[in-house]
C-alpha cells in the first residue's frame, strides 16, 4: 500500500457529532425542500425566502444551502466589508452584503430599481426579505453556508447572521437532495 499522505502525528480531534449522524429524516414520508441559493439578486433572494417560509409552514423539512453570491445577503447587520486583502474587500465593497442590500439583476439603475420595488412592496403590503428571514428562522429552516464560498469571499462564520449552521460542502447537499420526497431547487 502506498501512503499518499503522511499521517499527522498530533493527537486526533474527533469529528463533531452533528456530522456523524446521517441527515436522513426519521420518517421517510416527511416531505423536504432543499434550495441552493446561488445569487444575491433581490428577485432570487425574495423567491428563495418565500419558498423557504411556505415549505416550513407546510411542515416540510426545509434546507437552504447558500453558495457564491448567495452567501452575501446573509452577512449579519453592521458588517460592511468582509474578507482579507484588497480583492475580497473590493468584492464586498462592490456588492454590499446584508439582507437589505440586494440589487436587481436588471433595471437596477444605481439602486433606483430596488428602491422602487421596495416602495411598491410596502404599498401592497408584501413582506420584505428581512421579515421573511426572521419567520423562516422561527419555523426552523436550516441554513447552511457553502464552505468554499466562505473562503473565496473571506467571510468568516462570525460574519454570518445568527442561526446559520457550520459550513458544509456539496456532498452534504447532494445527500439531502437525493432523499425521498425531496424537492430541490437551484435559485
Amino acid at each position: 500500500m502506498t501512503a499518499i499522505a503522511e499521517r499527522p502525528t498530533s493527537a486526533e480531534t474527533p469529528v463533531p457529532s452533528e456530522f456523524a449522524q446521517a441527515l436522513t429524516p426519521s420518517d421517510p414520508a416527511t416531505k423536504q425542500l432543499v434550495i441552493i441559493a446561488a445569487h444575491n439578486d433581490l428577485e432570487s433572494l425574495w423567491a428563495t425566502l418565500i419558498l423557504l417560509n411556505t415549505s416550513a409552514a407546510t411542515g416540510m423539512r426545509t434546507y437552504v444551502f447558500t453558495t457564491f453570491w448567495g452567501v452575501l445577503p446573509f452577512v449579519r447587520d453592521g458588517v460592511r466589508i468582509t474578507g482579507e486583502g484588497w480583492m475580497q474587500k473590493m468584492l464586498a465593497f462592490m456588492q454590499r452584503p446584508g439582507i437589505d442590500h440586494a440589487k436587481l439583476s436588471k433595471m437596477n439603475f444605481m439602486g433606483m430599481g430596488p428602491w422602487m420595488i421596495r416602495r411598491l412592496a410596502k404599498h401592497y403590503n408584501d413582506t420584505l426579505p428581512r421579515e421573511l428571514l426572521t419567520t423562516a428562522k422561527e419555523m426552523g429552516v436550516t441554513f447552511y453556508p457553502c464552505q468554499m464560498s466562505m473562503e473565496l469571499f473571506g467571510i468568516k462564520a462570525e460574519n454570518l447572521m445568527d442561526g446559520f449552521e457550520a459550513p458544509v460542502g456539496a456532498t452534504t447537499v447532494l445527500e439531502l437532495m437525493t432523499q425521498p420526497n425531496t424537492a430541490s431547487l437551484f435559485i
Binding site: K31, I50, N53, A57, G59, N125, E138, M139
Partner: protein, 75 residues
C-alpha cells in the same frame, strides 16, 4: 359549532397568511378549530393545498365582501 380561535390575516400577502396560520394552529388543541380571515385572493388555492399537505382539515371556506374565511381543524 365549537368556538374557534381567530387569526386575522387580512391585508397580508403571500406567503404570510400561511406562515401565520402554521404558527397559529400550534396554539389550538388537536381537534379544535382555527378560523382565519384573509384578503389575499391566492389564499383560496393556498389554504386548500396547505390543508392537503399538512392534514389539517379545511372544514369551511367562504368569502364575504372580499374577505375570505377559512376554518381549519387541527390534526
Amino acid at each position: 359549532m365549537d368556538t374557534a380561535t381567530v387569526l386575522d390575516a387580512r391585508g397580508l400577502k403571500c406567503p404570510m397568511p400561511i406562515v401565520k396560520t402554521a404558527q397559529a394552529i400550534k396554539t389550538v388543541e388537536q381537534g379544535e378549530l382555527l378560523e382565519v380571515l384573509a384578503t389575499d385572493p391566492g389564499s383560496v388555492a393556498d389554504f386548500a393545498a396547505w390543508s392537503r399537505s399538512t392534514g389539517n382539515e379545511l372544514v369551511e371556506s367562504s368569502v364575504t365582501d372580499g374577505v375570505y374565511r377559512f376554518v381549519m381543524r387541527r390534526k
